[in-house]
Symmetry: C2
Subunit: 322 residues, 2 copies
DNA sequence: AAAAAATATTGAAACGTTTCCAATTTGGTG
DNA sequence: CACCAAATTGGAAACGTTTCAATATTTTTT
């Protein structure tokens, strides 16, 4: 593998000059430029990006840390994040934490050692104190405090919207179901919006939560179905959670949407090939991804951001479950 | 940010000694080790991995290049690949090529500049000639020639299995449907196996392919349905393709599995929440991912591999479409 | 207790760039 | 033609590590 030095020798110039040609920095005479370019051609020279990063003390690598890329919501998110990063020549490093605290910390440490330019974090733990100040972070759906900017969908409005849609679809006693994740999770506002709107509209409602991590899903759902057989509407904290409910309810002969209307949250199915097509509160995934990266850029450039939390509007997508 | 030099000064030793403490290479007296460790503590020192990579002229970064992480099969694959890489302290860089030749080449060039330790490629183009010899590559489902090792499922046997299962489920005139991707794609063997088995069993069959890239899916399926209304079994080249077919057929009043039995390939649904649950030829995704990485390790270590292509066995998963 | 052997440590070079200052060349002007 | 400013180029330091030969220290052997 030839280096900039080899190029310089072959072209009969100094390494500094080659560097200037490559980076188009500073002035070089057309004749010199040509000589250098020929040498580069001949030697098949490619700049060593690692040496560059080392010298410049910065890299164009951004890490995305999330529980699991396997999850459809995250893989869609990752898709757009990579796309947006590539526009500016940034690269994406993928870290599956499994949501485990120790793995999150382990990755954080590693990322620090690798001097990544920035981190996009979807974590279960408060990583605020485990990260040095010189590495910009934008989090999705988790709001710790002002050091880490948060991008999320408008969970509160989403909750209100879900309640209204359930009522509109005919539900008289809707329930919010979900698993409690982190206290820092913005997703908990889905519940708050739901409750608030139910109170405002004077609708009877139920909140039935399950502590995370999952112990026994089936038991949870069975208990729910037994204790609240008069529930005729369900707003689930995620689409997957909604799908699980429908599956379990179906086994007990409860039909959706005839007996119970169901609304999820996320909007993971982009193809209408599998059924039931969930009625859901659709997050603007692409927008969230792109905004996250653009905010991260601002932080990388040292700018201060106006807001701590950026909430993007959600929409209701009518499916077959309401 | 403090460097190894700062640590050396504070501990009153040479930088080489600190290096040996950090890397547990060479001998150091317990007393010295303690001094150094204290200094590291005090300064909050973390080794600069970039400087290390630079000096060692190698990194622990492996790139995964695929059409789109959004696709459920790839995101499952990526999940296991990341997991296996992490076991050995390797990191994963994710590159969505969109299957576009120019983007694949662009990424390849970039990866070369970044001196990644290896590449896992799921490409649409023959990248054999666009990659320098000193960067190990393992490809999934694409077999070019001996330079690039290929890991794939046993597509041929999968095709035979699908044909047999269709017949077993009652199909008299099964069809293979799919889009033609690359000539290098091992996935084309799904068709070959299907055809071979049909001939062996003396079953009438149809092959109906659509050139890639996708122009108009709907038109393709409509034509298929019109021209071959006597087809009563379908083996689709992927699960998604199968799902599309079912959707389109359903609109024309064709019921699955009553009128037509359908079998897909991949096994993407890990949760039985959405229907129809496809009958499918399930690829051993986890095994494929882990084997790919282990083979890549061997190549990184300079070992020669025994085979050019590694085919892993598939299984039939009974769903609701046969 | 001296010599030999084993163990620890130091110090400097090297990795491939960028950048900055100084030196040189070029081109224009009077 | 001499001079000056601007343009171009050269050369070397610096980035933070690892590694290796050389030196220093400790332990073992006789």
């Amino acid at each position: 593998m030839s280096s900039i030095k080899d190029v310089a020798i072959l072209a009969g110039v100094a390494v500094g000059t080659v560097s200037r040609v490559i980076n188009k920095s500073g002035a070089v005479k057309p004749a010199t430029r040509r000589k250098v370019e020929e040498a580069i051609q001949e030697l098949n020279y490619v700049p060593n990006e690692i040496a560059r990063n080392f010298k410049m003390r910065k890299s164009k690598m951004v890490a995305l840390m999330l529980p699991s890329i396997w999850h459809p919501f995250f893989s869609e998110l990752a898709y757009y994040i990579e796309d947006e990063l590539d526009l500016e020549g940034y690269k994406l490093m993928l870290c599956n934490s499994g949501g485990k605290p120790e793995k999150e910390l382990y990755y954080l440490e590693m990322l620090q050692q690798n001097k990544v330019a920035g981190i996009v974090g979807i974590t279960y733990n408060d990583i605020e104190n485990n990260v040095s100040n010189d590495i910009p972070i934008v989090s999705i759906d988790r709001h710790f405090n002002k050091k880490i900017t948060c991008v999320t969908s408008d969970n509160y409005e989403g909750g209100r919207l879900a309640l209204r849609e359930l009522v509109k679809a005919g539900a008289r006693k809707p329930a919010f179901i979900g698993s409690v994740t982190s206290v820092y999770s913005e997703t908990m506002n889905r519940r708050e919006g739901f409750i608030q709107e139910a109170k405002t509209m004077g609708v009877e409602y139920v909140v039935y939560e399950k502590p995370d991590p999952v112990e026994d899903d089936d038991a949870y759902f069975d208990e729910l179905l037994k204790e609240h057989h008069d529930v005729d509407g369900v707003f689930a904290i995620t689409d997957i959670f909604a799908a699980k409910y429908i599956e379990r309810a179906g086994r007990q002969g409860i039909r959706v949407p005839e007996d119970v209307k169901v609304i999820g949250y996320d909007g993971i199915q982009d193809h209408p090939y599998f059924h039931p097509l969930l009625s859901t509160i659709r997050q603007p995934v692409e927008e969230m991804a792109r905004m996250t990266i653009r905010l991260l850029y601002e932080k990388i450039e040292g700018k201060d951001l106006e807001q701590q939390v950026y909430r993007l509007p959600v929409t209701f997508r009518q499916g077959e479950t309401t």
